[in-house]
Amino acid sequence: MDIETLLSYPWRIMMPEFTILGIVTIVSLLDLFMREKIDRKILAYISLGGIGVALCFLFVNIGQPVQEILFETYRLDGFANAFKFLFLVGAAVIFILSLDYVNGKDVPYEGEFYYLILTAVLGAMILASSADMITLFVGLELLSISSYILVGARKYHRRANESALKYVISGTIATAVMLYGMSFIYGLTGTTNLFEISERLFVAFHEQGQSFLIYFAFFVTLIGMAFKISVVPFHMWAPDVYEGAATPVTAFLSVVSKAAGFALILRFFMVAFIPLITDIEPDTGMWISLLNDWAFFIAIIAAASMIIGNIMALRQTNVKRMFAYSSIAQAGYILVPFAVAGELFFRIPHLFFENAFFYLLAYLFMNLGAFAMIQLVTQEEQSEDIKAFSGLYRRAPYKTVAMIFFLLSLAGIPLTAGFIGKFYIFMGSIEGGNIWLATVMMITSVISYYYYFGLMRQMFLRPAADRAKPLKTPLGTGIVLVFCLAGTILLGIVPQIAFDFIHLNFDGLDIFYPAE
């Protein structure tokens, strides 16, 4: 392959990634050469600007036909754009939050903190827009390793150290397991391109009779990837890590990193495994794909996540830990669309993507909003206990109202984004004929009210004791709160806008079509 062939690829579609990469370079160099005394906040502003530019490039990319570079190691499609949009918006919010969080004492290396967030986002972006196992793997590792360091960045905190070590150990074990599964997939197909894998798996399944090996590889890979989205039984790292990490990092893990995990799982299994028709039903002539076989097990994982996440959250007194369990449960909800079996997928495949993506979007707004408040309160009170929220209404009525909206949304009360998201997923599950999973979803969301309302009660129903002084809000956090509140309410009242937006700009079905 010579330079001309290389240059003939449409590299401009990678502009968002290049922008982030460029900003990483600039920020790291600046950090290196800036004098110690200079405030590192300027780096965050530069990064924020870079994310803005990347978003602009992303919008240029939206609506373009499916394109690829170098045998699908990088590809541009609606699916990728959608997730990249999510990551960049999430990252921007997290930057604003970190601006108010990071101070020299807690995080000794401020500049590094900023560009590690950027590299993590870069990893996530690559993860969303590649159809090649190697690129997916490297992107995943870029995301993970950056996250390990970010979690450990508060290096003088024992809890941060401990959570970082736990994260590294469980994370690398998960990676090893995933790679082990991938090695079998490679062995059966001899390629890393997901489309080719899909074709060759068909051969391996039907002509070579390797069905069990395929199922085995499938499960092992899935489990390795499920670690990222922290679903039961691969969730146990999450509470510890969420508690130990700095609050913006926790927000990052629970929103961006989790969304990246979903992007990875969606892409990998939708492209490589779902088209694998394992059988044809003799009576109806309907196709049975691998989807039919996996659905039940995904459903079990989803149900277990919802049950255990919500019940464990009930007993938490540390608010970040509570949100960790809550996010485990939320991951369970998002898994529900994947667990709906069979025939429905071939009828209305876009619903899978849209349901999950809408929920992720809603989750971005509500969870980031909630984390902004958590950061505000825990920093002010120097305590992560739920009691730190007591009497908040007296101290900051407007912010309390915002927080209530986030909590209501997380709980899935109507007129909020969370309700619409949950409703769609629920309807999808019923339409797909999986009533029991829908029931579990309903019952566990009732359980979840208990702890969300426990937090609300703290804010409302307790006197502020002697701490009636008003809560200061830094400008950045204020902006984040307004932004997230607007998103939560808008998506709740006029969800059609979001759906039209998703439908128009992000065609999730793109992932199935190789580039022309």
Partner: protein, 173 residues
Amino acid sequence: MNGELLIFLILAVTSIGGGILMLNLTKVVHMVMALAFTFLSIAGFFFMLEAEFIAVAQILIYGGAVTIMMLFGIMLTRHNDQDESRKRGLKWIAAIGVVAFFVLIVLAIDGINWMPEETAFVENNTAQIGLYLFGHYVIPFELTSIVLLVGLVGAIILARRDRKLNKEGEAHD
């Protein structure tokens, strides 16, 4: 029994033996050395499988770099540490889980029945790897360099003892 099979068996014994030694030794440093043994045997497998480049890389990175890094890790933390055994119950559950997993793997690969094809590997497969890395896989390759950079930065900021902060910044909570 031909030569190739003999070498394979020797390598298998040494690699697995190294792993089992690691599990049973008590001194941490000895464990690392046992694993280094395993890593080197694995390089032998790679030679057998005509992956010379990977084999050399394996010797350099695992036999050398990783092992030495781990030794440094031990020296920087607590040398001469004895790794006494943990609670029994936990070990048993772990053992059961791992053995069950192993049985499943064996069941899975048991189904492999295709005849090994004689592949015409090109003579200079190292060059082939290079071509792949700089052609087909240039994107992940470049990305890997970022991962390495991140790892470098991370290792530095995490492991470095910074004088400025250490006085006041003794561990919180």
